[in-house]
Amino acid sequence: MVVEPLVCGLALVLSGQELVRAPLPPMAFEPVAWRVVAAGEGRQRLMLVGEMGELLLCSERGGLAEGSAGSSLPALADPARTLLDFGQLGRASLGDGKGERGADWLLAVDPRGLFALSLEPIDDGAEPAAWIELARRAKFELRPGAPRFAPFLSDVNADGERDVVLPGDGACELWLAGREDADALPTFRRSGRVRVDVAVTADTATETIGDRLRASFVIPGLETEDLDNDGKPDLLVSDGSRRAYHMQGDDGEFPAEPTVEVDLALYRDPAADSNGGIQFGATLAADGEAQMTRRDLDGDGRADFVLSHGRKVWVFHGGPQGPQFQEPSAILKTADDVTAVVVSRLDDDGFADLLLLRVEVPTIPTLLMGLFVEWDVKTRVSGYRNLDGRSFELRPSMVRDLRLRLPPIFGALRDPFAIVQRFRDAGSKFKSSLRGDFDGDGSQDLLLFSEEQDRVELWWGRGESTLVLDEAELDRILREEILGSGPDVWDLDRLLAWVEGFAAERDRRLTAGSKPDLSFPLPAPGAEPDSKLPPFTVRRAETLHPPGEPAASLLLEWRRPGGPPLFERVSIAP
């Protein structure tokens, strides 16, 4: 674990072209995490967490930071084994009628249970808030090594109460929130233990001193979706080849036993290679198991399912009771083996169609020649139109042969970092954005960082514009830009150019193509004299609207290798 040094915060006020800095007092611990938390009445505060469990709620008064750095909160009892989350513990739909909420609560879960701490500011001299036990049996038994924020507080069953999902070994534990009294804190009851596919890596090689011992795991959250269009999210469980669906009842509970189950291993094309994997010159097949895709195919708002294996495709339409795998609506037999099925709209009839992808693994001679010259991975895309929501074309009405052209293998091995850098350069075209009321006029503004992150641009009143990659947008990208009338060959240059073009289009949509209303440089904090440390770079930025201030600020965390982090607050006045 990295031990990070002391924080020394600075605050700047930009007035016109003038920067004014006022340092905050240094904090007594080394922060490993921080969040902007609600302070009530639509305002926010900065909360810092130390590796040893220290908690500090920063306070700012007026336009300049002054006085103490903030309020120390009761420390965490077991910092190496604690997960943190924050949010409102009142009912999600409650408020003061003006759309503003109270202060957040900080939730912590460790081997002792689930606890909550109020983040309401306390007056000087008053007793600090104390941790309140919410559920002694809701335990977190893993070891992140230092306090870690994780999104375990969420309204899983959409009943207006935030529930708790606790990650564990191979499963997540669901604790549903209830409330005996509208003014009381919620109570939590254990609803069940849901198996999830945890990705675990354990490298133990010790052949040479250059080896690394690695340990990692990724625990997914619970997947929910309203499968039967009854307005209530249902629970989807994936456990190996088994898929289980727990339909939410009217009481907001998920049944312990799945309402519907399906084993993908039962869906096989006898003619397909049962082992899957890579065979040179043959179709790429993943793991030899059937694959499943889910989407509403007939426009009834209910999830329908498409399974594929080998050259067979099964379509199951969901009904009022939810998913069903008894009666397939259609069974397609394709001319070629299928690598993957994508459900996407090929036309404008409102029904999602089927795209069958066949990726051909190159032959050995191709690969061997590919050591020195460019080589292609061929992919055939066959489109089967959805005729009436229930049935599909028996033959594809659209067939497109695409080629992914890859650079010579030896060239890539000689300098793989050059390729990585090209992708990074393309990725950097997606400008980081923030939203906030930076001028205090009550409307949300849009702030974009430049690619070099040394400049900030503002558009007043454009904070509501977003670009969300929803189904419709993904369909459009697939239909027009990948399967459109352009060339069939996608090489690295074309791929990266597309990514950069998409980034530019994103910026255009966010800003409506207009010039920024304000633009100013963002120089890195100056280095100390004789310092050998390299310059600061921005590690993270958030919007912060402190209590008592008319406008939001920009909160920056600056980092440099080997040195302590530095926090800055930039207030912007037009």
Binding site: D169, G170, V200, I209, R212, L368, M369, S432, P561
Partner: protein, 524 residues
């Protein structure tokens, strides 16, 4: 010399009696000194790994298999045998493992004779007595925040770096990797009981902070980096998202003589430094390393992707101190080539930092054409000096055209003989062209223990997916090495089998883990 002639004659006779392809499906075979055995697996069972250890204390290595079936895992011990079969066909014991076991080792940690399974879980280290009653089968040896927290039902890694003799009393001690470094526990033994006492926590320094403190940051960190690390969010979420992601890594630790003969140290090489913790009295380890030596090859973003990078340790000049060889692609050359940098304690200028000196200047540099892998230090020619072994793939267009017609990838195996003075021969003493079939099977090229107690090593190769071959290495009068054309033994196996080489001196046992059986062969 006559001894060598007799051995050659014996091996020639053995070859004449050799059975070319594999052993029968259910049985053992003895072919001219190579004995093999096939162990069938029950339907649905999968062999996860294997290791050797003397579990019954009779002085003979036994085979321990890790097997999974129906979501459960177990270890099985097959006792070593003499004669026509390398191991007993029936397990001496079977040990069902708790679900929280993340890795295992084998070693003598209890008072009962022989080695026991030593199991790692997230919370500590346990020993198992497979033949004891169920209520006394598992015993906690030490509590520690073990690096690996979660296991998988279809994996059971063998971690052989867990056990070592820290205090030199002949008993095996524990070096447990954690997210921060290594926790040490020394074994104490009384007449009827063994116990483990904490010997300290070796904490890995923050390499980046240390580098900044010493003013030795990498060029990419030192320049005015125009781009920070902000990332744009595009709002695409699939499934339930990630609830928790934890990732830790520490360098593999090694217990070696560093400051002199008998003066052991725990060493670990991270991206920037070689950290050295001297082992104190009673096996004690301090928290801070005694040395953090700046590595002459820094692992920056570019070097992290270098397929040729390797680091190996061995006493090259037999002065009782472990030396270091670093292998890295030459990033400044327009040709594809790899540098081998040799650093010895004896070569470091007096009064300067150990091993690397103050300037990080190697005592010897070798340059190999192409990408290099499989780098090892071992005694190939039996002269007790460590030799350098490496395999290289050279980008050659004409070769590639030729290979394209044969579906094979060619590589060159090199052996540079150690001269015993910390240097290797300037040119390879053995160059062997290998031709690997391009299939979904792990190729193997390793030097293993030779057939006799001393003498040249055996070359074990898997150029074809369907067989593993052991070939004898001969030392010519002029010091050149050559691999005899006729293999000493050949063991057939499933093309998708995973092959392990186990045993001392590079190994004397080959284990092929197949889908429905395990094939085992030994040649000593």
């Amino acid at each position: 010399m006559m001894d060598k002639v007799c051995r050659s004659a014996a091996s020639a006779l053995g070859m004449a009696l050799f059975c070319a392809l594999g052993a029968p499906l259910a049985g053992a075979a003895n072919d001219g000194g190579f004995v093999s055995l096939t162990l069938p697996l029950a339907s649905g069972a999968e062999a996860l790994g294997a290791a050797l250890a003397d579990v019954d204390g009779d002085g003979r290595d036994d085979l321990v298999l890790a097997v999974a079936r129906d979501g459960a895992r177990e270890l099985r011990a097959h006792l070593g045998a003499a004669g026509a079969t390398p191991f007993a066909a029936e397990p001496h014991w079977r040990l069902a493992l708790p679900g929280d076991v993340v890795a295992f080792a084998l070693g003598d940690v209890l008072v009962t004779p022989g080695a026991e399974p030593v199991l790692l879980s997230a919370s500590g280290v346990f020993a198992a007595a497979p033949l004891a009653p169920e209520d006394r089968r598992f015993e906690r040896l030490a509590a520690a925040a073990v690096l690996w927290q979660l296991g998988r039902a279809d994996q059971l890694p063998h971690y052989d770096g867990l056990l070592g003799d820290l205090d030199g009393d002949g008993l095996l001690d524990l070096v447990v990797p954690t997210a921060e470094g290594y926790s040490a526990f020394v074994q104490r033994r009384e007449e009827d009981k063994s116990s483990f006492e904490s010997a300290g926590e070796a904490v890995l320094p923050d390499a980046e902070a240390l580098a900044a403190q010493r003013g030795v940051l990498t060029p990419e960190e030192s320049q005015a980096a125009p781009r920070g690390t902000l990332r744009a969010r595009l709002g695409v979420t699939t499934g339930g998202g990630t609830l928790l992601s934890v990732s830790d890594a520490v360098p593999a630790p090694f217990l070696v003589p560093f400051a002199g003969a008998g003066q052991r140290a725990l060493v670990a090489l991270d991206d920037r430094f070689l950290h050295v913790w001297s082992v104190g009295a009673g096996g004690a380890l301090g928290a801070r390393p005694d040395h953090s030596l700046l590595s002459p090859v820094q692992i920056d973003q570019r070097r992290r992707l270098d397929v040729s990078y390797a680091a190996v340790m061995g006493d090259l000049d037999r002065d009782g101190r472990e030396d270091l060889v670093l292998v890295a692609g030459d990033q400044r050359s327009s040709d594809v080539r790899t540098q081998v940098l040799v650093f010895t304690h004896g070569g470091a200028p007096a009064g300067e930092a150990p091993l690397f000196g103050d300037a990080g200047r190697p005592t010897q540099v070798l340059v190999l054409a192409g990408f290099v892998g499989n780098v090892r230090l071992l005694d190939v020619d039996g002269d007790r000096h460590l030799d350098l072994v490496a395999t290289a793939v050279r980008p050659d267009l004409l070769e590639s055209l030729r290979q394209a017609t044969s579906d094979r990838v060619e590589a060159d195996l090199y052996v540079y003989r150690g001269e015993g003075n910390g240097r290797f021969a300037r040119r390879p003493n053995l160059t062997r062209r290998l031709r690997f079939a391009v299939q979904d099977a792990d190729p193997i090229v390793r030097f293993a223990a030779g057939p006799g107690p001393r003498g040249p090593a055996l070359l074990v190769t898997r150029e074809e997916p369907t067989s593993v071959v052991g070939s004898w290495v001969r030392v010519a009068r002029d010091g050149a090495l050559e691999v005899l054309p006729e293999p000493l033994w050949r063991m057939g196996l499933d093309p998708k089998a995973r092959v392990l080489l186990l045993g001392p001196a590079g190994g004397d046992t080959v284990v092929a883990l197949e889908s429905s059986q395990v094939r085992v062969g030994r040649w000593r």
